[in-house]
Symmetry: C2
Subunit: 456 residues, 2 copies
């Protein structure tokens, strides 16, 4: 076998031509979305006012293992993909571990993260359907940036409801979205009914992701030929993100790398679902015995401390009900929480895989996450996003265990993005003023109290 280079790039010929739909091999499917009024499984027709047709078809597709990536999307992917699979030689050396560490790095595009993989697909299909405009929400801003980039490329107008506190704290993120031609509205705003309602009840609120989702959906439904797009959680988003896992698997096979464990950060679950998809499919078929580990913030612990229940996807309770691990749509992480990964719920697919024991999860506190981020930056060069640093923390902890036990495990993790727009959080860490927060059981009960009172 050839020496393993620091960075493995696939050639254009080796790039995936299909997405991988893990649902087609799952022994039990995630329970269907439920209409909150009828309490019946949602139909494609009911989703049509909100989502683009092709995305609905993908969302409800439980049978096709491979779904072709149209050439118009593959051309977009070629601009910034394949992303490198990197051997963390320097981190290994610094940790003095017998473990081999690899990471798939999705941050080599201007959006700074994996979000672009689904943004490209969603905008392509919207344009193909002849839609006139799109709406979305963004929190930290990665998704909004990714979507603005795709909308600039495919030439489609975009309105982004940006969580107000983010828009104020991250004017530069807002400026990037605007540079790509996206219109940014801080949320809650007076442009929607739900926004006006929230503002009248809480005039000083900094907003939330759930509220921004509600506003974006309302605008999409009320505007002709306009649809809403979502950057995580949903099955079709995980489908698009499967390109991460497919590239990773191809690179591993090319260099005979056999991961013992695959670690990723989990917020809505799209990055992790995409990274592990093809490997998980093989595990379900009994072809590997990889340990899958999701790492989430202790301050927003949906998998490790949430409930597996039907819940709304947004604060305004306008979405279908999704069976997922959730803290309740009313749960809001403590203000001292720095990174992303602040969504109250979790992808239905990831939730089901976790529920059925195919993966484990753990939570970590943020100062330890930034310890890992800094160690990584100084040894591997790249300054990671705080979200991604949850995965680094997990990988470092496993590499240290290997050092203690002497085991030579192969650890692979997903480095979803860069932290160039998260320097306020790094400044807080560098100055020693960053604090940790673990919600008490009472705090969590307040969130659970917002779960819908349905018997499903």
């Amino acid at each position: 076998m050839a020496n393993i280079p620091y960075k493995i790039y696939l050639t254009e010929d080796e790039m995936p031509k299909n997405w991988y739909n893990v649902k087609a091999v799952m022994k039990e499917l995630p329970p269907p979305f439920i209409h909150p009024g009828t309490l019946q499984p949602i139909t494609a027709d009911e989703l049509r006012p909100i989502f683009c047709d092709e995305l609905i078809a993908q969302e409800l597709n439980n049978s096709d293992l491979y779904i072709e990536i149209p050439e118009g999307i593959r051309d977009f992917y070629k601009m910034y993909r394949p992303s490198p699979l990197i051997r963390a030689y320097n981190l290994e050396k610094l940790l003095d571990t017998p473990a081999e560490i690899y990471y798939k790095f999705e941050g080599t595009n201007t959006s700074g993260s994996h979000k672009l993989n689904s943004a490209a697909a969603q905008v392509y299909y919207a344009k193909k359907q002849g839609l006139a405009a799109l709406t979305t929400e963004t929190g930290a801003g990665q998704w909004g940036t990714a979507l603005a980039m795709a909308c600039a490329f495919y030439d489609l107008p975009l309105t982004v409801y940006m969580v107000k506190v983010s828009a104020e704290q991250k004017p530069y993120r807002k400026a990037v979205i605007e540079t790509y031609g996206g219109k940014v509205i801080p949320s809650p705003s007076d442009t929607t009914e739900i926004g006006r309602k929230i503002l009248s009840e809480n005039p000083g609120t900094g907003g939330s992701l759930g509220c921004a989702i509600s506003e974006a959906i309302e605008t999409a439904v009320k505007t002709p030929d306009c649809r809403y797009v979502l950057g995580s959680v949903l099955d079709h988003v995980l489908l698009h993100q499967s390109i991460i896992g497919e590239e990773t698997k191809t690179a591993c096979e090319k260099y005979d790398i056999q991961p013992d464990m695959i670690i990723g950060c989990i917020g809505g679950g799209s990055n992790y679902g995409g990274l592990v998809g093809p490997f998980m499919g093989d595990k379900i078929k009994g072809k590997n015995n990889i340990e899958f580990i999701g790492v989430e913030p202790a301050s927003c612990p949906s998998l490790t401390r949430g409930r597996y229940a039907y819940d709304f996807g947004d604060t305004g309770k306008t979405t279908p009900l999704i069976k997922m691990y959730t803290l309740g749509s009313g749960f809001i992480p403590s203000p001292n929480h720095a990174g992303g990964l602040r969504y109250h719920g979790m992808s239905g697919i990831v939730s089901k895989l976790y529920h059925d024991g195919y993966m484990t999860a753990r939570s970590v506190e943020q100062t330890k996450v930034f310890d890992a981020a800094t160690l990584f930056a100084r040894s591997e060069g790249t300054l990671p996003a705080p979200e991604s640093a949850h995965a680094i923390r997990g990988a470092i902890d496993e590499a240290i265990k290997c050092k203690e036990s002497g085991e030579k495990k192969t650890i692979l993790f997903g480095l979803t993005g860069t932290g160039y727009f998260d320097m306020a959080a790094y400044m807080s860490y560098n100055s020693g003023t960053m604090t940790d927060y673990v919600p008490s059981d009472e705090d969590l009960e307040k969130g659970f109290a917002t779960l819908p009172n349905v018997n499903l």
Copy 2:
């Protein structure tokens, strides 16, 4: 010939093992550095208190065409190199030009630019010499970040004098440097004599690059086992940057790409000198007839409107005298100038090549630069640094000429970095408040009046 992929990555085996020293093939050498006291050519011994020994040897090496890159530096390069040579298929389509456009993209590392190529080398040699610390200056912050990354990797303390107005306007850049362990001191400061002098004369000054250089040199000279490192202008910096040109040339040869012109932005000249080095060497030998074009800001036009004269490298007039195109070390660009490329002088090598007619130069106004930057971002995805966008402007202008003439030229340009930390400038452009500035002849005369009164 194989189809040309969007992005050409060399394999590790194909990566250069030597730097390319263009001085070894130049028919006439740039005139030597002059000691401002003795007015004699500077000696290695006179440079030793300021610079690391190996870098002085490289600076004065006019005979070896290839200089080996030590393995310890090649290992660092492997973390973020090779950088891709990208075919700008989407930009070509948008411009509807018969030209083929390629760009060598140096922004895929956390420092966001090519600066890391020389930072790695300089810190490696300093460590090898057993030095205890380094000092430097930074303006926009790319060089300071690059050096902090290299110092973190090779474990050497670093003090960065950051132009005060930059440190205030770019707290996040400062935070990145600190995350990598660098100590940032806004300049002018009270830590040096020259800083205290400037502060007492101009208490409210926002500082300048020339002033920060003076402070960094003073500190290096007065601190035991400490040296100063510089990120541009000098011959050894261009030598390290030649890896850009060597990778580009190898990629071109692999895919039979024959550039008709090579365009780059020019500030101190290190990126452009490095990009064109090996191609220029061939041109000098009569092996190609490539047109070399440097693009500089109209607000700081050292090549197009400067004088070819001996001048100091810094405001404090502490450096050796360098024969270069210069606006005078007292020249300071108008405050409305947004990007980098604000140095009063120009690399001695680039100055000599320009003087001898091997390359041309043009200047562009900044709103036109941001027009090009935005067009590029929306079509090619990557948000460019304002500096880099000068080269984009040049390439787009040439591609438009090709459309008008019907010529199918091959245009290659250097995209030195990303603009993620330059969003204040983009915001000014997006809001329509950005203005242009072209210094009057009278403005330039004020700068020329600061040239040293020597007859050399």
